[in-house]
């Protein structure tokens, strides 16, 4: 096992980093009073910049496009997910870990995006939202003149 200079195995460091991030982010991104009562602040998100777009990804197994509501308003991305229950009669549950119900998540976008060109793709339970940056938000090379 690879160890760093403090002797902590790397997978643990990675785990700790992920946990730290998880804990710190969960509280940062839930504006008070925006979530409908009973909705949990899920799903977990991964967000990164890719070229000239911001990418938001969420794992939503069992969710179909009709169960999803995505909107971008005032620099915030709102994601509402209704995960259908598979309640059946004459059934005994031995394990019930998969969450059901309505989830919502509001993400304040760090950059200005072109609302008209936002795309969402749901494949094998993974949702990927592509939010192209506006012209104004794209990096621009500034020429320095001297004279």
């Amino acid at each position: 096992m690879v160890r760093n200079m403090f002797g902590i195995p790397q997978p643990w460091q990675q785990f700790r980093r992920e946990m730290d991030r998880l804990v710190s982010n969960v509280f940062d991104y839930i504006p008070d009073g925006l979530l409908p009562a009973g909705a949990r602040s899920l799903p977990a998100l991964n967000v990164w910049e890719e070229g000239e777009a911001l990418k938001v990804e969420a794992e939503l197994p069992g969710v179909r496009p009709d169960d999803l509501e995505i909107s971008v308003v005032g620099g915030e991305l709102t994601l509402k997910v209704g995960r259908p229950d598979v309640e059946q009669a004459d059934v005994k549950y031995h394990r019930r870990e998969r969450s059901v119900g309505t989830f919502a998540r509001v993400l304040r976008l760090p950059i200005e995006v072109d609302v008209d060109r936002v795309q969402a793709d749901l494949r094998n339970g993974v949702l990927t939202i592509t939010l192209p940056k506006t012209e104004a938000a794209k990096p621009r090379k500034i020429n320095v003149t001297s004279g």
Partner: protein, 130 residues
């Protein structure tokens, strides 16, 4: 084969073993018991039917789904709340199951397994004669 060759092979094998489940996640599951079957629902987002491996052996059900990273290793995340990697989980199934009739389907990131109960344990209505 020289000594050096031997060492190299061993080192490679060891590495392969370690990385095989380098990032393994435990899928959330529902296990439902119906009168004639056990139903297992497992959340394995990002897999495909080709990358899912289901085994039933000696009363142990094993689910393994291989999931490749969807972003470059160098990606700088602005928010990184979950990791991506293989899913792995196994269960001891105490119920008598007809192993030959187990079926599996994968849709929308959910793996559904049907484990039909063996004839011997299915509830049976016994007619009282008289």
């Amino acid at each position: 084969m020289s000594n050096a060759d031997l060492t190299k092979t061993t080192a490679e094998q060891a590495r392969a073993e370690r990385t095989r489940c380098g990032r393994c996640y435990r899928p959330n599951v529902d296990i439902l018991e119906k009168p004639d079957e056990l139903l297992v629902l497992a959340d394995v987002p990002g897999a495909t039917s080709e990358t899912i491996d289901v085994k039933f052996e000696d009363g142990t059900l094993t689910i393994h789904a291989q999931v490749e990273p969807r972003q470059d290793a160098q990606t700088q995340y602005l928010l990184n709340e979950y990791g991506v990697g293989d899913f792995h989980r196994s269960f001891d199934v105490s119920e008598a199951v007809d192993a030959a009739k187990i079926t599996a389907e994968y849709a929308d990131g959910v793996l559904t397994l049907h484990l039909p109960k063996a004839e011997a344990v299915k509830p049976r209505v016994i007619k009282v004669q008289g």
